[in-house]
């Protein structure tokens, strides 16, 4: 099958949805004339013209608010916030406008908006922030975090078609990652984890940029005779708890990997949810988390390497749970 980079897969998703549904439009900084600083909206301006592909001022709160209003009247906006590091300025519109409309109108109005944003664990203390845990905590929002080009395309199309607001996290490494991507339009259902690798010794849950890291670790562990089952939940809300619980019932061990900060991260919820599930009785070791230990992403590359979890940290965590009892 055809190989595409992640940014091409996302661009294809946008192009196809904009072609088949004229309610879909795109808004953000540098997305029109420039085609997006990561080239995700390349060519859209030429295809769909300036009324459907709009460059905005630096007004993230404002244009997210605009998207919400447009969505309430039946449009399907896709907005881009260039870095999750400054999604902070749009929190109110996301949490108080987008997330609450359906509820306060008891379904009489709703907000089918997609907010695409970029995470990376690189850059600096600002741009290196990965804040998916905030959105995960807010009823009314769906949270999507693809790990590869195939999922990226299918999940973006599903997100656009979804009737609820979706925060769509794109890891920078996704843009240059190559993968097989069908040409035709396809959707991936929310709440269906993908078992990336089967294994019977330990369950490793990872999402977004950490899936590749977990797979690498699993590969290395296989050489030591440890078979890790690597699961990518793909969407954090809704969350496919069932697949993970079943896996832990089988393996008795769980390691959760995310690049964002440990304290109050999504990994804590995954651990807590597994503890309060059928898997409790099967757990043979503590649940370990491999994450940013709670450090802002420093500018120096030397320092940065210490902060972001890599293959070695995952391998070490798995060895620890394997050594248990």
């Amino acid at each position: 099958m055809r190989l595409l980079r992640g940014n091409q897969a996302l661009c294809e998703a946008l192009t196809q949805e904009m072609t088949q549904d004229e309610r879909v439009f795109v808004m953000g900084e540098d997305v029109a004339a420039h085609g997006g600083i990561y080239r995700v909206t390349e060519g859209l301006l030429t295809c769909f013209g300036p009324t459907r592909v709009m460059d905005t001022p630096i007004s993230e709160s404002g244009f997210v608010g605009l998207a919400v209003g447009a969505a309430m009247l039946g449009m399907r906006p896709v907005v881009e916030i260039m870095s999750c590091g400054w999604i902070t300025v749009a929190m109110d519109q996301i949490v108080n406008s987008a997330a609450k409309v359906r509820y306060v109108n008891n379904g009489g109005m709703h907000v089918p908006v997609v907010i695409r944003t970029v995470i990376s664990g690189s850059g600096n203390v600002y741009t290196g922030q990965e804040l998916e845990a905030w959105f995960f905590h807010v009823p009314g929002l769906k949270v999507v975090a693809p790990s590869n080009p195939y999922d990226a395309k299918g999940l973006l199309i599903s997100s656009i078609r979804d009737p609820d607001p979706v925060i769509f996290f794109e890891h920078k490494s996704l843009y240059s990652m190559r993968g097989e991507v069908p040409e035709e339009t396809y959707v991936l259902p929310f709440g269906q984890a993908k078992v990336r690798r089967e294994g019977s010794d330990v369950t490793v849950v990872a999402y977004s940029g950490m899936v590749a890291v977990a797979e690498e670790a699993a590969h290395e562990l296989a050489g030591e005779g440890v078979e890790a089952e690597v699961i990518d939940p793909r969407t954090l809300v809704p969350f496919d708890k069932k697949t993970i619980v079943e896996s832990v019932c089988k393996t008795g061990r769980l390691v959760v990997v995310h690049e964002s900060v440990r304290r109050g991260g999504v990994g804590a919820e995954i651990a807590a949810a597994v503890i309060d599930s059928d898997a409790f009785g099967y757990l043979r070791a503590p649940i370990l988390r491999v994450t940013n230990p709670g450090v802002p992403i420093p500018f120096s590359a030397t320092l940065r390497k210490i902060v972001s979890p890599g293959k070695d940290e995952v391998v070490a965590a798995v060895r620890r749970v394997m050594a248990y009892a």
Binding site: G62, L66, L73, Y103, N105, G107, F239
Partner: protein, 338 residues
């Protein structure tokens, strides 16, 4: 274009005597509804109380009166009049104030931020100023959908100090969105006077910073509000762009019954010197379009409607417990919500 005095654009929109009488009735209804609501709140018949619009009735009525079906409004926390003028009934709003099972949100949201899609009313949020960009987005949608419909965004003087005001007006102007911004400048944000919150006299002067016309309107004169809004609506409908209308008004009551009044009795008394209902009433009487007897009949009718409505609303049960879990998402997430 900046006007630093009270003035308004001339418009060809003509208000017939009938229209003026109808506007009078809408203002009076709003006044009595608010008074009753406050009373019923004191008596424990309503759970929350509302942000009284008493004294500000001309703004919502004047601005919304000439709207067409298909146009939308997004009221402020105090634009009670937008609801009546767009044909929401007393019963609907009382149900909403109670949060009962017949309320439009089925108990999930209060009356002042309720949305009525059927009446072209968008729901706002409790976050002052946060709804301004949403209103602009609604206008953008209307234009993208090829209609000539417009949106009116209502907000207070305090809201104009929020960053969202700035971003929304700038976006609306640069994208030429069909929206009219109506600022209800009552001189206060809760207990803080506008003079403490900003160093300028006319919020209308902010419009120049977005390349947008800004006008100061006498917010106690429903005809002035109507005429200015009609011109601005015309400008929006024809794709020229948005307008900022600053309606100077006064809040005749305390911010919300939860609050104590900090203003001196004198200051409050001075507010009452320009009651928008009195002002229009006097004009109508002078022209002979409305007599004292008509007004009394109106009062009686309204009182009766209110009493029927509260009785009817009180008979409605509260929502059923299970409903609290619905409409968080389109579908129930069940275990997938964790």
């Amino acid at each position: 274009m900046i006007t630093s005095e009270v003035s308004y654009l001339k418009s060809s929109a003509i208000l017939k005597p009938d229209d003026l009488v109808r506007m009078y009735r809408l203002m009076l209804l709003s006044r009595r509804f608010t008074e009753c609501s406050l009373e019923w709140y004191r008596e424990g018949r309503l759970p929350h109380g509302l942000h009284p619009s008493i004294g500000q009735e001309a703004i919502g009525v004047g601005a919304c009166y000439g709207l067409r079906p298909g146009d939308w409004v997004l009221p402020s926390l105090r634009t009670t009049e937008a609801f009546w003028t767009r044909d929401v009934s007393i019963l609907q709003q009382l149900n909403a104030e109670m949060g009962n099972a017949a309320s439009v949100s089925r108990g999930k949201e209060a009356s002042h931020h309720a949305g009525y899609p059927g009446n072209g009313i968008l729901s706002g949020t409790s976050i002052v100023g946060g709804s301004i960009p949403v209103a602009v987005g609604a206008g953008l949608a209307l234009r993208m959908q090829g209609t000539d419909h417009v949106v009116i965004s209502f907000f207070g003087d305090g809201a104009s100090n929020r960053g969202d005001f700035h971003e929304a007006l700038n976006l609306a102007s640069v994208l030429k969105v069909p929206v009219v911004f109506v600022c209800e400048n009552n001189g206060y944000a809760q207990t803080v006077p506008a003079s403490t919150a900003m160093a300028l006299k006319d919020i209308a002067d902010r419009a120049a910073g977005y390349g947008m016309p800004g006008l100061v309107i006498d917010g106690q004169d429903v005809e002035a509000v109507y005429q200015a809004t009609q011109s601005a609506i015309q400008r929006a409908r024809t794709g020229v762009g948005p307008t900022l209308l600053e309606c100077k008004t006064n809040r005749f009551r305390v911010h919300h019954p939860f609050f104590e009044e900090d203003r001196s009795p004198d200051e409050v008394a001075r507010c009452w010197e320009r009651d928008p209902i009195e002002i229009l009433g006097a004009r109508l009487k002078e022209k002979g379009w409305l007599g004292q007897a008509d007004i009394e009949r109106m009062e009686q009718q309204i009182r009766q409607e209110l009493e029927e409505a509260i009785r009817e609303a009180e008979a409605v049960p509260t929502p059923t417990p299970e409903e609290v879990f619905t409409q968080i998402y389109a579908e129930s997430l069940g275990e997938m919500g964790l």
